[in-house]
């Protein structure tokens, strides 16, 4: 049997029917990785022996398939998660060779419920980027078109699932790093509400914005991963104590929704993307939903707000990569001052340095009030825009990305152009809201288009329900040919 195209739901049905065993499935996925990933560069580390050994342990537990909601599910983990015994480079040379001494809460929860890690996947260095071209270990390619980017920063996570190298994957989203690559690779990607999933064990980029979320081929799969992974963690003081619903059980509830669209926000969107997005609105109307116009006047400041807050926090979060305790240390230091500047100078890449510099300035005496403090005031205004919108509608909707996958190197010389890829996703992080990207079509170049549903805090269940309904109307979304062993 060929593996790679299945969903969680299909694998679980197969296990229940005793059609195959976890070790067969995992072997199939490992084979896919070894055969296909040379072209994609999505995996940074695989440990086939350990992975197979884990799968074989599950072979002996086939009778527990109904107790373990992720029984025998192959999962890929972004390389900015810590998993004990695995490397965690976060795509940076400064962490090359670093082996995790402990496991992230999110990963530990998935593993304890039967998921099997098939490998650690590539990403933009310290999750900073929108194309996965900022990895110290090379760019990742889009399975739909190898000349194009998979999106970023979780480009390895999206490429791996789209190409059939993992059934689902985990990523992190600080300004769009799950939703944008999900959109560019034709997948479902969720950025949960801030505080919904523990951040313990993910390499921090911007602590007040970072969230962990899943990549999957279907809404049901996303809901399944979330119901296992979400919830309070006493190791993350910013995680919420709210109870976690059984998302998969709430998917089929029959409800109609009101969608809010901010027209001014949509200016500058690629026409093919815009057309596909309008079709989504029509589909919701056909299902009995309503579409209304809303105003989000402060979202136009999202980019500048984000690029003050995120770099400020990053400049502090990344101070620990200094060559003293672990990670890359320059071989040629002449003093402790020299050790710091050389280790960091040699170990950290260009885009990350740029953001550290930005953040360091924004927090400096004399600039703090004008930059960091002001940005936080605007952040509050953006939150208020959404709060106001949600008095009129259930969701705010937008395309996930203004364009489909662009070519490698196309935007690397112009940071601002690159930053604009996240124009629809950034405000969601600033407001701490959940955002779900769902595939909605292919453009004339056969590249996936996605749209984004933005909900009220902790209303992931509503997002899943609406997206699940839409998915039924839309029909099965195609996979790139590489996922079927071709290409």
């Amino acid at each position: 049997m060929e593996f790679g195209t299945q969903t969680i739901q299909e694998l679980l049905e197969g296990y229940q029917a005793k059609q195959f065993k976890p070790s067969e499935v995992i072997e199939g996925y490992l084979k896919n990785i070894s055969e296909r990933d040379e072209k994609l560069n999505s995996f940074l580390q695989v440990r086939p022996e350990e992975t197979l050994a884990n799968a074989k342990k599950l072979d002996g537990r086939m009778n527990e398939v109904n107790q373990l909601p992720l029984f025998g599910i192959p999962i890929a983990i972004k390389d900015n998660f810590l998993v004990e015994g695995w490397q965690a480079t976060a795509g940076s040379k400064v962490l090359s060779g670093y082996v995790s001494p402990y496991t992230a809460t999110s990963v530990q929860r998935l593993e304890s419920m039967g998921a099997v890690i098939v490998g650690k996947v590539n990403c933009d260095e310290f999750a900073m980027g929108s194309s996965n071209e900022n990895s110290a270990f090379g760019a990742v390619r889009n399975p739909w078109d190898l000349e194009r980017v998979p999106g970023g920063s979780s480009g390895g996570s999206s490429a791996a699932v789209a190409a059939g190298l993992a059934t689902v994957s985990l990523g992190t989203d600080t300004g769009g790093s799950i939703r944008q690559p999900a959109s560019l690779c034709g997948l479902v990607g969720l950025k949960p509400t801030y505080g919904r999933v523990s951040r313990y064990g993910i390499v921090a980029y911007a602590s007040s914005l970072d969230q962990v979320g899943p990549f999957s081929k279907t809404v049901w799969d996303s809901a399944r991963v979330m119901e296992v992974m979400a919830g309070f963690d006493d190791r993350d003081a910013t995680s919420s104590k709210r109870s976690v619903p059984k998302y998969t059980e709430e998917l089929s509830s029959k409800r109609t929704f009101t969608l809010g669209v901010s027209r001014s926000w949509l200016e500058g969107v690629d026409p093919e993307v815009g057309k596909s997005f309008e079709a989504v609105l029509e589909a919701f109307k056909k299902m009995g939903g309503k579409v209304i116009d809303i105003d989000l006047p402060h979202t136009r400041y999202s980019l500048s707000t984000y690029y003050l807050i995120a770099p400020s926090e990053a400049s502090s979060n990344l101070a620990r990569y200094d060559g003293v305790h672990y990670g890359y240390r320059t071989p040629s230091a002449k003093s402790s001052e020299d050790l710091y500047s050389r280790s960091r100078g040699e170990g950290i890449g260009r885009e990350v340095k740029l953001r550290i510099m930005l953040g360091t300035y924004a927090l400096s005496a004399g600039y703090y009030d004008a930059f960091y403090l002001k940005a936080n005031q605007v952040r509050r205004k953006i939150q208020e825009d959404f709060e106001k919108a949600f008095t009129q509608c259930d969701f705010v909707v937008s395309p996930t990305s203004p364009s489909t996958a662009f070519k490698l190197g196309e935007k690397t010389d112009d940071p601002l152009k690159m930053y604009l890829s996240d124009i629809f996703t950034l405000p969601v992080n600033l407001a701490g809201l959940p955002g779900l990207s769902v595939p909605c079509g292919l453009d004339s170049k056969n590249l996936p288009i996605g749209f984004q549903l933005i909900g009220k805090p902790f209303c992931e269940s509503d997002l899943f329900t609406a997206a699940y309904q839409y998915e039924k109307v839309r029909g099965e979304f195609p996979l790139p040919s590489i996922a079927k062993g071709k290409g």
């Binding site: 313990y200 064990g201 602590s207 910013t238 200094d322 003293v324 305790h325 710091y340 400096s364």
Partner: protein, 478 residues
């Protein structure tokens, strides 16, 4: 020398480690002296992905300190990151509090040597985590992270002190309060109670502060006083010589008895403080505060009041006996065995403390235990030995740590209260002094004293004085 023309302005910053079982933001033991880098985990070593979680016990102890120092306690406060690079700071920032500390506006009343009391204001108290320790060796620097993440409170005083003595008394009072309330163990040698001093001088009668100099990390009360004394003189001499005081950080060289420059102000850091995004605001609810208030241990001022009432002590005695928690406990232990408050106070203060001071020992290192001193007091009260002999016995106890009963037995110090035993001695004295006897018989009754004295000498001072007196009179009159 024109020191009198000037007045010093002194403010102190004290870092006190909190006596919690675990560290401020992780579950590692808060324990001094373990093998290097054994009390560590991913959080306090700053591993990627690790996050801080607030230790509730540390907050409780900090709030206790704020209550003891009469501070306002804020229901909401904010942790902030203080960013700087140093090898013993693994995260590259220290979690502290900056713009919104949990406590402000307190004070301590201190007693000065002239008997006056003075109120010293406390500007603020805030929480922070300790850094690790760097040991600079000839071959390089060794970093020990056992201390990294240990909970601290920083207590910042108002610039209310005017001389080294006031600063010393403030520090002693603060130290005593923190130890009484089980907040900080106060061990200065281990660095669990550290002091920085800000010092400037100005002409008496002027309002404007002079340029301040910061004295860093002085590790004993005596050194704090000496360093401040030195620094005041240094600044006054400099000004009198027409020099300008430069804002700088200095350290105390206890070998040379001078302060030395550590760094100039120009090298000061921009710490880029900002609110710690990994921690929610710190909230201290009314209920929690009430609970902490109810569970407050006794403070020195309260112990002093209690001693005065229970043992009928003077203000002065009560203040001395409660000057440290250990001394107060020692004293209470003596009283509980001896059942004689006044005598216990006298013996502890006059005999024991004097000798301890002379030997430069603290009460914890007393060679005589509380029960031993109580036993001695009981022997006086029961008439077994005289007060005079007790002093000799005590001297021996202090030197050898032996029990009073052992010394009394070995040296034959027991008071003779047997009339038959004393009668021989008295008869001998009378027989040996016939002329005085004749004078006495002739009416010179004053000579009774002479005979008692001689008889006492005959018994090597061991005679029960009252009994001896009675016996001499009886035998002279027959």
């Amino acid at each position: 020398m024109s020191l009198e023309k000037y007045e010093a302005v002194i403010g102190l910053e004290v870092h006190a480690q909190l006596m919690t079982a675990s560290k401020m933001f992780c579950r590692c033991p808060n324990q001094y002296g373990a093998s290097p880098n054994t009390n560590v985990c991913p959080i306090c070593t700053g591993q990627p992905g690790s996050l801080p979680v607030i230790n509730k016990k540390a907050i409780e102890l900090g709030v206790r300190a704020a209550i003891a120092l009469q501070c306002e306690i804020h229901s909401e406060s904010v942790f902030a990151r203080k960013n700087y690079f140093y090898p013993d700071l693994p995260k590259g920032y220290q979690i502290s509090q900056y713009e919104r500390p949990y406590s402000t506006h307190g004070n301590i009343v201190v007693r000065l040597k002239n008997g006056d009391e003075k109120r010293i204001g406390i500007t603020r108290i805030h929480f922070e985590e300790d850094a690790g320790k760097s040991n600079h060796e000839s071959y390089g620097t060794l970093v020990n992270l056992n201390r990294a993440g240990v909970p601290l409170i920083e207590i910042v005083s108002e610039p209310d002190m005017r001389n080294a003595h006031e600063a010393g008394q403030y520090l002693r009072a603060l130290h005593s309060i923190l130890r009484y309330a089980d907040i900080c163990d106060g061990n200065m040698e281990e660095g669990n109670f550290r002091c920085d001093a800000n010092i400037s001088v100005r002409l008496r009668g002027t309002e404007k502060f002079g340029t301040k100099v910061e004295l860093k990390n002085i590790n004993s009360f005596k050194f704090v006083e000496k360093a401040i004394e030195y620094e005041i003189q240094r600044q006054v001499f400099a000004i009198e010589n027409g020099e300008k005081i430069i804002q700088q950080t200095r350290s105390w060289n206890s070998g040379k008895n001078v302060t030395e420059v550590m760094r100039e102000k120009e090298e000061a850091h921009d710490y880029r403080y900002f609110p710690e995004p990994d921690l929610p605001k710190l909230t201290i609810s009314v209920e929690w505060l009430g609970q902490i208030r109810n569970e407050m241990p006794e403070l020195p001022s309260q112990a002093s009041e209690r001693f005065k009432k229970a043992f009928e002590l003077s203000d002065y005695d009560a203040a001395v006996l409660t000057s440290s928690k250990e001394l107060a406990h020692y004293f209470e232990s003596v009283v509980s065995h001896s059942k004689n408050g006044k005598a216990s106070a006298n013996w502890v203060m006059n005999e024991l403390l004097g000798r301890l001071n002379a030997a430069s020992k603290e009460i914890e290192a007393s060679p005589v235990s509380a029960t031993q001193i109580a036993e001695l007091i009981k022997k006086i009260d029961s008439g077994e030995i005289s007060g005079k002999i007790a002093k000799t016995v005590f001297e021996e106890m202090f030197a050898t740590s032996k029990d009073a009963s052992v010394i009394i037995k070995d040296k034959g110090f027991v008071q003779i209260s047997d009339p038959a035993a004393l009668e021989n001695a008295v008869r001998k004295v009378i027989e040996n002094n016939p002329s005085q006897l004749a004078e006495y018989k002739a009416g010179k009754v004053k000579l009774l004293g002479f005979f008692v004295g001689q008889a006492m000498k005959e018994t090597q001072g061991q005679a029960n004085p009252a009994l001896l007196n009675e016996l001499v009179k009886k035998l002279l009159d027959t």
